[in-house]
Structures are given as C-alpha cells and as structure tokens.
Subunit: 346 residues, 2 copies
C-alpha cells in the first residue's frame, strides 16, 4: 500500500492558516489506500525567539526522512532581516540541494490581473535554486565606518547551470508550445552570462524541437507586462528568478495564487513546496489569507510524488473556484479551503 | 554670453535617427543668445568593426572637454554581447563617475499603458551608476569545461552608497510628496544590504520631512504593476535599478518615452543623457523610431546645465504632443521631431 510521509512547516504569520487548508485539501484528494502521515515542525520566528535556533543539523536529519515538505511562510518583522531567510529558508534549499525552483504562472479564467485587456498567461519559470548571488559568498570590511566595503559574490558553475538548463529543456519539450527563454544579463555580467549562454546553446542542440530565445532580464520585465503570452518555459538564475517570478505572479492573478516547488529531482533529499507569498504579518490570524497558493503548492507536491491524477483534480478545483469568485462576498481562509476540499473529493 | 559645448554620440541603429530629432528640438528651444556647439563622435558598432576600438583614452580626453554628452543608442547584433556595453557604455559611465543614474517615470495623459484602469504614475528612480555588480569584478576558471566556475562580484562602498542616497533624499525633499523608497534585497544579499540599509537610515535622520520605506526588489516589481502611485522617489543599486527602470518605463508609456541622465553631480566630468531604449536594429533606418525619449533626455540635459525654463518647455511640448496622439495615424521619426520643435519654439 502507498504512503506519504510529509513534513509540515507552517512557519510564521499566515503560514499557519494557509497550511491548515493545504492539508485539508490534501487529505480530501488522496485515495483511501494512500496512508498520509504528517509531522509538524515549529521552525520560524517563534522558535528563533525562544531558542536562537533557525535550523540545526538534527533538524535537517529529521526532515531528511520525509518524502516531501510543505511550508507555509517564514519571516517576522521582529527578527532582523536575513536571519530567518538565510538561516532557515535558504539553508534548507541549499542543504537539500533544491536546484530546480519551479514557479508556474497561469492566469485562470475569471481571475483579476493588473494588466489591461485579456492577456493569455501560461508559463513556468525554472529558477536555479542553489547558486548565483544566493550562496552567501561575500563580506564586509570596515563595517559601520565611512570606508566600509561590502561585496556579494555570484557563484555559477557549469555543473549547477547545466543541470537546471537541462531540466528546463525537458519541461519545454514536454509542453505543447515547446518554447524556452533564457533570461540573464549577459551583456553586463559577462562571466556568468557567458557560462549560462554557452551551456544553454550547447544543451539546445540536444533538443532540436524546442524553440529558444535569449532575453536580458530588464527587457524580460517589459515583455512580462506587454506580451506575457510570449512565454512558455523560462530558465534563469537564482536572483533574476526571484525578481521575475514575483512580477509573473503579480500579472497572473497575484501572489495569492502563486505556488512553487523547491525540487531535488534526484530524490536524494525531500523536495519542498511553498506558496510564493510571505508571512504577511499585517493580516495574520484574521482568517483573511487566501490559501489557494498553498493548495496549488500541494498539487505540485503530489505531481512530484507521482500522484498526477490527484494533482490535476486540485488544479481543476482551483480553476473552478476562482472562476466563480467574481461578484461574490470575500470568504475566509477556511471557507476557501472547505470549498476546495469539497470539490476535490467530489 | 552663454554657450553649450555638446558631445553628440548617435551610436548604432535608431540612435542616429533619434539623436537628429533631439538636436532639432534643442536648437529650437534655446534662446538666441546661447551659442550651441556640437561635435559628433562615431562610437559604436561601425567604429568597432573598422578599428576594433570601443573607447580609447584619447576619446575620453576629447569627451571631457564638453559640457555634456547626448547619446542615442549603442549596440549591434553583429558585435558579441558585452563588448560595446562593457567597452563603451559602462566604461564611459565609470570613467566619468556617473554615479547618479536618473530615470523619471511619468504616465502622461493620453499615453497608453499596459496596466488596467487609470494608474497615476509620477516617480523618479535614482539608480547608482558606478558600483554593484556592474564593476566588471569576477572571473572564470576552467572556461568551456564541465568544471567551469564563473563569478560576478557586486562591490558596494560606503562612499559610493552614501553619495547616491544623499542625492535621492535631496530630490525627495524637493518634491511635493517627499517620499523615498529604498529598493534592495537585504534579506538575501545581507552584506551589501546592510550597508545600503544602514546608510539609508543614517541619512534619513538629516531629512526628517522625507517619508521613507524599504522594499525588497521582488516585492517592488509587484507594487510597480499593482500600486505604481505609491512611488515618489526610489533609490537603488545599479542592477536592481536597471531592472526596475525598464519595468517602470513599460508601465508608464513604454521605452519610447523613457529618458535618462547619467549624472556626475560635482561637474568634474560631463554628464551623459540618453534614452532608456536600445538601438532597435529591427526598425533602424526606417523612420519608425519615436524620438520622444531622446527629446526628454535633452530636457534632462538642459535642466542639468541650468536651463530650467527651456527644459520645462520641452516637457510641456512632449505632454501636449502625446496627449494628441490617440486615433491619429503614426508619424515618422522626423515628423514627431518637427512637431516638437515647432511647439517648443512657439
Ligand atoms: C524570502 C526570500 C529568501 C525568498 C527568496 O529570495 O528566494 C523569497 O523571496 C522567494 O522568492 O522564495
Ligand atoms: C546596455 C546596458 C549596459 C545598460 C545597463 O544595463 O545599464 C542598459 O540596459 C541601461 O539600462 O542603460
């Protein structure tokens, strides 16, 4: 009989609320014969305040034993900027080698977009997750003085770039439009830019059916708001991916519906799934958060574990729910979760 | 009697066409008693192909003697990516210490925006121009092998950050809304992020009337499309500034109307003014390019040299011209230039 052994990290702020709904929908969608075990972990601001810990080696050992991780949101205004991000979120992405950061953007019917007209948006960003300016390389000298110098080093390796580029080509190949765009800034960041561009062009030869294009990151932001239909699959570095996926989320219905997967394709370590949004302390605890992004992250999780039919049922339930929202009064976090649970079960 | 000794660099592609119109409007707006001298320089792809040179020490010495520089666009698909950007554009910005890269975004009445509704957009981005990931620091080892490693180093100094932050505060102080946003990614790029944030907070104490906020660059892209009215003055690093000013241009009427100044506020070296758009080889030589961004760059140039009334006349002429475009047939580059020249002269 099949089973899923899931690590659940609700985290801070609205993380608690949205994860509860994600789990509700997960339980509802799974067939009877699949045994779902969950274990909750208390990472985030509360634990940091109580113990000073963000993520210990023992924590990593415990997390390693799970099939996958569902994360709500991490971050709190009471914790200095960077402590939880570097000490928990990024530490976990690096420790578990989550090199494929998958972020689909699809504007579903009936969903509001800040763009005029009726843009067609359906693309997926494959963001590199373990290199670039995210490695924590760099430093500061003469801190706090008028002679301070601070550096940040973006580290890019052929190994790291090739595996994510290859993953993106395979995804493009599997989609009807078979298009892949590389986004970088190779006219300025020429060292990293050449590495990315050369590997992209080399791997392209193995995928003759995939149509490719290159685009500078600045130009890409223009296309994302003027011609978003242009994109099918995008592959890009960690920082550019961070920036353009927030923009992509904004134009395709907002971060309330943007899901993401931090994937280790080899399965050596568990992959982690999380909404793109943060902990939103301003609305935490009020039942106002939209759990849709977390529910869609559960779909990505199921797909990753091989439950394609169940993932598709969630996607369909979300589409149906979103298409019926217009003109209706706002629902609470758990009302939306309930409605989605009913749909996926039915 | 007054005089302006201007270096003119038409550059590549549509650069030639738009600069001609910029000069036409400049001549038309200047009072009789101002002697305008211009000297044209042939930098860009053609010179590079002929001589292999992008910008020599002798070129820099010649350019130094001018009061200001008007640039069209540099870049050509026949030149490897990065050669002209690093070898000319960035070399000049660094050599002349253009640390204030000024990019206003204003959605003028009657101008189309990809955003729905009627957004109010009127802000200016102060982008740092001589540091960050643009310094060319970094390198490659084992190039072309499967063990290649490429690095890019972002260099940030207290000296460089403080002067541009101070410039931005002064600009915010002089504007009616007196708001300044710092955009960075200080939760991930913690070394540079702390430097920027600390200096921003320190200088803020000297400007108690200015309302400040901090925003991560990824979140900023969301606000730029969902709440652009939120922004008044933005200060940010070289790379984030590059990215968000293209997005800002896209939402506020397109890069056809986006102007920029590469400013050395001390006046030690001439400042350079250029449209944000590139050389657009696909439409070059066809009279299709909109010279408005160049004309608005001429207004920034005049304002920088102290010709405030003339700069304002250009801004008004452009507003009037743009507001009357809807429903009219498209005009050629020189027709738009002619119309603007007539307006500023009248
Ligand atoms: C919170 C932060 C570290 C994170 C990132 O920059 O990757 C977030 O913005 C994201 O996109 O998941
Ligand atoms: C062409 C390129 C070097 C340049 C930059 O990145 O600064 C351009 O994009 C700009 O914004 O002026």
């Amino acid at each position: 009989s099949r089973s899923i052994n899931l690590a659940v990290i609700p985290g801070d702020g609205i993380g608690q609320e949205v994860v509860a709904e994600g789990l509700k929908v997960l339980s509802a969608v799974l067939p009877q014969d699949v045994k779902l075990e969950t274990k909750e972990y208390d990472f985030g601001a509360k634990r940091y305040h109580a113990t000073g810990e963000t993520l210990t080696d023992a924590d990593l050992d415990a997390l390693k034993k799970h099939d996958a991780i569902l994360l709500g949101a991490i971050g709190d205004p009471g914790v200095p900027s960077g402590v939880l991000e570097r000490g928990f979120l990024l530490k976990l992405r690096f420790a578990f080698d989550h090199h494929v950061n998958l972020r689909p953007s699809k504007l579903l019917p009936g969903v509001a977009t800040p763009l005029a007209g009726e843009p067609q948006i359906d693309f997926v960003v494959v963001r590199e997750g373990t290199e670039g300016p995210y490695t924590g390389n760099g430093g500061t000298i003469r801190k706090g003085t008028e002679h301070e110098v601070a550096t940040e080093v973006s580290v890019n390796t052929a190994f790291g770039v090739e595996r994510v580029v290859r993953d993106a080509f395979a995804r493009a190949q599997a989609r009807p439009r078979k298009k892949l765009a590389l986004i970088h800034k190779n006219n300025v960041l020429t060292f990293a830019g050449h590495l990315w561009t050369n590997i992209f062009n080399k791997v392209a030869e193995e995928f003759p059916e995939v149509t490719t294009e290159y685009m500078h990151v600045d130009a890409a932001t223009i296309y994302l708001v003027t011609q978003p239909e242009r994109f099918d699959v995008i592959v890009t570095d960690n920082l550019f991916g961070d920036i353009i996926t927030d923009l992509a989320a904004a134009v395709s219905g907002g971060i309330g519906v943007a899901a993401s997967g931090n994937i280790n394709p080899s399965g050596e370590f568990p992959s982690m799934f999380e909404p793109v949004h943060g902990s939103a302390p301003d609305i935490a605890g009020q039942g106002k958060a939209d759990p849709t992004a977390t529910v869609l992250s559960v779909a990505l999780l199921l797909r990753h574990l091989g439950y394609e039919a169940e993932a598709a049922r969630i996607d369909e339930a979300v589409s149906a729910d979103l298409s019926e929202r217009t003109g209706k009064p706002a629902r609470s976090t758990s009302e939306i979760g309930d409605a989605l649970a009913v749909r996926v079960a039915g």
